[in-house]
């Protein structure tokens, strides 16, 4: 579903996102003092940049048909569809690292981060992910906790 939406026309969506971001920035910018050209307040520049971004976004969306037929080499590697497993692994692993470092310590945090993100790759087996995680925990303890004196406890409870 996601895929068909995105391959429909990237420029419409891309332009729309830029319009939204630009307008949001301009609106937020107007909350600050605008001032005059000679005595600019903090709101002037972000409002101007936001408005410009929205304008460019509009042009991108309007000219969508021009660019759509021509995917260029640089982007060819980037598949439009999102890989759910990779995203869950990487984001889940990082969130686990954040939570476990607070309620558990560096060792469980590192283990969870590497183990979970390794499982984001379909070709990694449980055993491979386990060994990779154990190896990285060893590096974390020796290099970062012991040698570089990182400000994180190995184990902590709250």
């Amino acid at each position: 579903m996601m895929r068909s939406l995105f391959s429909f026309n990237k420029d419409y969506y891309g332009g729309a996102i830029m319009i939204l971001i630009g307008l949001a920035a301009a609106r937020q910018g107007m909350q600050y003092e605008m001032g005059t050209l000679g005595h600019m307040g903090p709101g002037f520049y972000p409002t101007a940049v936001g408005a410009l971004l929205a304008a460019i976004g509009l042009v991108i969306a309007l000219t969508a048909r021009l660019g759509s037929g021509r995917p260029t080499a640089g982007e060819a590697g980037a598949h439009p569809a999102f890989d759910r497993r990779a995203w869950s692994g990487i984001i889940g692993g990082s969130l686990a690292f954040m939570v476990l470092n607070k309620y558990g310590g560096l060792v469980p945090g590192t283990f969870a981060l590497v183990f979970i993100s390794a499982l984001g790759d379909r070709e990694n087996t449980l055993l491979q992910a386990l060994w990779l995680a154990v190896g990285m925990v060893a590096i974390a303890v020796v290099a970062f906790w012991w040698a570089l004196q990182l400000q994180l406890r190995l184990f902590s409870w709250g």
């Binding site: 996102i17 910018g29 971004l53 984001i91």
Partner: protein, 504 residues
């Protein structure tokens, strides 16, 4: 002027050869080379991942190390490009064209050896240009007023965003997005916190580390995991293969020289980027060749000319970065950002205020490149083994370095969430075919753009005509406008696609 430069250079060697500095240089070169060899790790992600290491360091060793990482990773990238046909760093895509066919013919080692020789030669040449051009540029730069600086930055931003492949409009949108990211945080003029989204963590703005790691590490992993299949290879390269014979050197000498000159000329143009430069070096060589049909099937001239062009360009790029504080490409923006984290603002005053840093950096380029050449020949066997590390083991380990890196920025776990959000957004933007590099360029230059824009208008009492009344500024505004028109017209007409076909 030249005498002054030579005296400065002598002082620089004094700085670069201090054992402590030499050690960091060597460390940077080694790690950069190692990470650069690994398929899927580009120069940007390598520098981003290693950036947090510099926080606890003095400015001079920190910048020497980062510069080492930079050229170490470009050497490393050439290895995976030529032996595996995998360009982890975009400019090396051109080296793949003829480098990989040479590997298939069993001449991979020779191609690698000559490519390294070409890079070394081009770098040395670039350094020479840098030594003598920098003081000249600095002398001019002191005459720049805020309006002029703004216009130069405008040109840099436009060039950086529109000369990349793809839609120039999307490049401009990406730059504006970067400028907006740069607004986040406390406004220096009024003390008002802007765009903090109600969190105190954003009062100091988005950090360069979070942005760089989010875009070039996490965002990359989100897009590439389960997508990238690396073919196992069996390229065995011995030390002896690497050493080219006299005939090979003689044959590649003039392509190297031509590539170097093309790279140097393009280096002076802000925003052209090493990818375009290396491609032009290659195309030029093919054009003047008597046997153009060999190109793409293992023509050594193509490999050495493109490598020489991109290395000369990379070196010359340091000139505007250090002398004007205006980076020519995103990698330079990253190095500039690292300098600013150290409390050093690059610009015309850098040479006089921090001569140890400026000349030390230049001298360390020489030392570092000599180290690289010496290291790469005996260590090629190790690098070839590193090439076999599969991506699926690499990215979880890299995620750990990312997490630890952003955490150590100010011992706050919150930044990891920031990196995740930035990574997710940039993955979406890439899927929508927006280039990421201009975002970084806009982010680093953003605060300076705003400050000079405001100052210029304060000086002119709000008269916008100030940007087209001062001669220096007028030239840059005119070139910017011209660039915008030419890029848009040529994109719409599709002349770019002609270039795009032969570009990998």
């Amino acid at each position: 002027m030249i005498e002054q430069s030579l005296a400065g250079l002598m002082q620089g060697f004094g700085v670069a050869l201090v054992p402590n500095h030499l050690m960091w240089s060597l460390f940077g070169v080694l790690v950069g080379n190692l990470v650069g060899v690994i398929p899927g790790m580009g120069t940007m992600s390598t520098i981003s991942v290693l950036l947090p290491l510099t926080f606890g360091m003095q400015p001079v060793p920190a910048i020497l190390m980062l510069a080492g990482v930079f050229y170490g990773s470009t050497y490393g990238g050439a290895i995976s490009a030529i032996l595996l046909n995998l360009p982890s760093h975009a400019p090396h895509a051109v080296a793949c064209l003829d480098g990989y066919p040479l590997t298939k013919q069993g001449k991979g080692g020779k191609a690698l050896g000559l490519a390294m020789f070409a890079s070394f030669f081009a770098t040395i040449f670039g350094i020479l240009v840098m030594i003598f051009a920098s003081p000249l540029l600095v002398a001019i730069a002191f005459k720049f007023g805020p309006a002029d600086i703004f216009s130069v930055m405008l040109l840099g931003l436009l060039a950086g965003s529109t000369m990349a492949r793809g839609s120039p409009l999307k490049g401009v949108a990406a730059v504006l997005l970067g400028l907006l990211c740069g607004v986040v945080g406390t406004d220096v003029n009024s003390g008002i916190v802007r765009f903090s989204l109600g969190t105190s963590e954003l009062w100091e703005g988005v950090s360069l580390i979070s942005l760089a790691l989010g875009m070039f590490a996490v965002g990359d992993f989100l897009l590439n995991v389960n997508r990238t299949t690396y073919v196992a290879h069996s390229a065995a390269v011995s030390v002896r293969d690497m050493l080219p014979n006299w005939g090979d050197i003689k044959k590649s000498l003039s392509p190297i020289l031509r590539g170097t000159i093309i790279g140097t000329l393009f280096g002076a143009m802000p925003g052209t980027g090493p990818t375009i430069t290396s491609f032009i070096g290659y195309a030029f060589e093919r054009k003047i060749s008597k046997t153009p049909e060999r190109f793409g099937h293992g023509a050594i001239e193509g490999v050495v000319a493109s490598e020489a062009a991109s290395h000369a360009k990379a070196q010359v790029d340091f000139i505007p970065t250090m002398c004007l504080g205006i980076p020519g490409d995103p990698i330079m923006a990253l190095i500039l950002g690292a300098l600013m984290i150290q409390g050093i603002t690059p610009g015309p005053q850098l040479i006089t205020e921090h001569p140890d840093l400026f000349w030390g950096l230049i001298a360390s380029f020489w030392v570092g490149n000599a180290l690289l050449l010496l290291l790469n020949i005996p260590m090629i066997g190790i690098w070839v083994k590193v090439l076999r590390v599969p991506y699926r083991y690499l990215f979880p380990a890299a995620m750990f370095f990312v997490a630890i890196g952003v955490y150590s920025h100010d011992n706050n776990l919150y930044h990891i969430a920031e990196v995740l959000v930035i990574g997710a957004i940039s993955a979406i933007l890439v899927a929508l075919q927006f280039p990421l590099a201009p975002i970084l360029l806009g982010f680093v230059l953003g605060p300076m753009v705003e400050e000079n824009f405001r100052r210029a208008l304060t000086l002119s009492n709000g008269d916008l005509a100030t940007f087209v009344e001062r001669p220096i500024s007028t030239v840059f505004v005119a070139v910017s406008a011209l660039l915008l028109v030419v890029q848009t017209v040529s994109y719409v007409r599709g002349t770019r696609s002609k270039l795009g076909v032969s570009m990998p």
